[in-house]
């Protein structure tokens, strides 16, 4: 008290200029103190997280592969209902996502993805049969072990297939929707493709957030889980979904395509391999196109070779979220590359297409 009092007296006796100087100094000091206390807080948090991790490390080796393996198990074996928002450029789409395992006479894995708004396409999956349900259309099925909407199919398979062209990085933990989430970065080794970041729920190992990230670390397209209800067993809804009779998928014989082998691609980004090639009519314009589909497990791109259009400015580059569209005029034909790859990569692929 005495100390403060004498200080005060001194303050009064000082000239106003000196007073100002003192006040400035004091405020600087206090701000410094504030900064140091702020710095302390995250440190404490880090410590808490470290103590969180230690019990797991004692039992199993925790790395990115461990989390991706947990993700696969969660995606195929847990019972849950979730709300999903996908944000692609300025388009937002919302889905209701239900998954469960019904183990009555035979084990049925059930997955349903339906748009929350409007009468778009709904999907229902029983094990490896995926049915497309559209209003005013006959439902049809295909063979697939996942519904290809917002989760890359690689997460239902062995993620280690990606190690040729991607490296997995285990990053810090975040909070997403009030849940603790472990961030795994799947990073393109040579930057020919986008990086893919996955936030995995620590409790359920389900994906809370998925994002395409460019080389500047900007999120260009993302999927966000808005809510998650975990169940210990299949709910009534899941059991009901498992009792639907799905149309039979067409046999592989009917689905065969005439293969095409007229074009040579001299450059394909590392890790991508040809999935299929054919010649087919585009459903909208009925234009004939030679078609190639490439995938690296995480993303795909299509290559179309078509007759020349009369007027367009080559190269035509469009982008929507992570999807790039590049059309170039080549020697007597037009080449188009579409896919979730950077436009530079798509352009490089397009100009490398030559006729054999």
């Amino acid at each position: 008290m005495n100390c403060y009092f004498s200080d005060f007296k001194r303050l009064i006796s000082l000239k106003t200029f000196n007073c100002l100087k003192l006040v400035l100094f004091v405020s600087l000091l206090s701000s410094h103190v504030n900064a140091s206390t702020l710095n302390d807080v995250p440190n404490e948090k880090d410590n808490v997280e470290l103590t969180d991790k230690t019990p797991i490390t004692s039992t199993e080796k925790v790395n990115a592969e461990f989390w991706l393996a947990k993700l696969k198990t969660a995606l195929t074996e847990s019972n849950f209902q979730a709300g999903i928002v996908t944000m692609k450029a300025d388009k937002t789409t919302t889905y209701n996502w239900v998954h469960g395992v019904v183990d009555d006479e035979e084990k049925v894995e059930v997955e349903s993805i339906s748009p929350l708004i409007g009468g778009g396409i709904s999907n229902l999956r029983h094990n490896k049969v995926v049915t497309f349900i559209e209003p005013n259309k006959e439902p049809y099925s295909i063979q697939s072990d996942s519904i290809r909407r917002f989760i890359p199919p690689i997460f239902y398979q062995d993620s280690s297939q990606l190690t040729d062209s991607y490296q997995f990085v285990l990053v810090s933990k975040n909070q997403i929707g009030g849940r603790s989430a472990q961030l795994i970065r799947i990073e393109s080794i040579d930057d020919t493709t986008y990086n893919y970041w996955v936030w995995i729920d620590v409790q359920s190992a389900l994906p809370l957030r998925l994002a395409f990230v460019n080389e500047k670390s900007e999120v260009i397209e993302q999927v966000l889980m808005t809510h998650l209800s975990l169940f210990t067993g299949p709910t009534e809804e899941i059991i009901k979904l498992s009792q639907h009779n799905l149309p039979e998928p067409p046999s592989a014989l009917i689905a065969t395509h005439q293969e095409t082998n007229n074009w040579n691609m001299s450059w394909i980004p590392n890790g991508f391999s040809l999935i299929k090639s054919d010649r087919h009519h585009l459903s909208i314009t009925r234009e004939v196109s030679d078609y190639y589909l490439f995938s690296d497990g995480l993303v795909e791109f299509s290559v179309y070779v078509q007759r020349q259009l009369e007027s367009f400015n080559s190269p035509l580059v469009l982008q929507e979220g992570a999807m790039s569209f590049v059309m170039v005029r080549s020697d007597g034909f037009d080449v188009t590359v579409v896919g979730s790859i950077p436009p530079e990569t798509a352009h490089k692929i397009a100009i490398s297409v030559k006729s054999i």
Binding site: I142, S144, R148, K276, S283, I284, L293, T336, V338
Partner: protein, 209 residues
């Protein structure tokens, strides 16, 4: 009202009276000089209206009018020269002019002529300043509202026109783009089973060597 008693004179001159009225009216008219003047004026008006006589007036009337006009003009000129800079407002003009005149005529005003000049300058500036924002604000309000509206509307309409025009110019390109993107998404839907088979084959290939 005041002309009520002159009505009979007017009627007399218009030949609309009977004998008894004529007698009484003439009798009244003689009584006062006002009535006599009225009689002469009315008869003159009637003659002029009936084109029976050219209007002959004495010079005093025209001179009076001229004098009146001269006075009015003088007043206006003095006001304009002294106060027109201050404000376009009529009331401001006359008020300030009269105040300045009063002030300059008063003894204190003469004694402090310099102050008077300074004060008038100050008044001019004050009135001028206070007037400029007023006129400006009158113009500003609509300008401030219309400018964003115009700039907001114009680019949008231009941009939308441009967007509308371009597809029509390159409609073939646009339909092809749509067709290719739709086909790409269609192809992705039905790819899983095959892709998986190839992937596993590749894995085998990798393992074999």
């Amino acid at each position: 009202m005041t002309n009520k008693h002159l009505e009979s004179i007017s009627a007399l001159l218009d030949d609309e009276v009977n004998q008894s009225e004529l007698d009484s009216t003439l009798q009244q008219t003689v009584d006062t000089t006002e009535n006599v003047e009225a009689f002469s004026r009315y008869s003159l008006i009637g003659d002029v209206l009936r084109n029976e006589q050219l209007l002959e007036t004495n010079g005093s009337f025209a001179a009076g009018i001229q004098a009146a006009i001269a006075n009015v003009e003088q007043e206006v000129v003095t006001e304009d020269s002294s106060v027109v800079d201050i404000s376009s407002h009529v009331n401001w003009r006359s008020k300030v002019a009269s105040k300045l005149k009063q002030f300059s005529q008063s003894s204190t005003g003469r004694n402090s002529a310099q102050f008077a000049i300074a004060a008038s300058v100050a008044l001019v500036t004050i009135v001028g300043v206070s007037n400029i924002p007023q006129t400006n604000s009158q113009y500003n309000a609509p300008v401030a509202q219309t400018t964003p509206l115009v700039s907001g509307v114009a680019p949008v309409s231009l941009a939308s026109d441009g967007v509308k025009n371009r597809p029509s110019a390159n409609q073939m390109t646009q339909t092809r783009i749509n067709a290719l993107i739709a086909d790409h998404q269609q192809q992705l839907k039905a790819v899983d089973d095959k892709k998986e088979a190839i992937d596993t084959n590749e894995d085998k290939k990798v393992i074999e060597p």
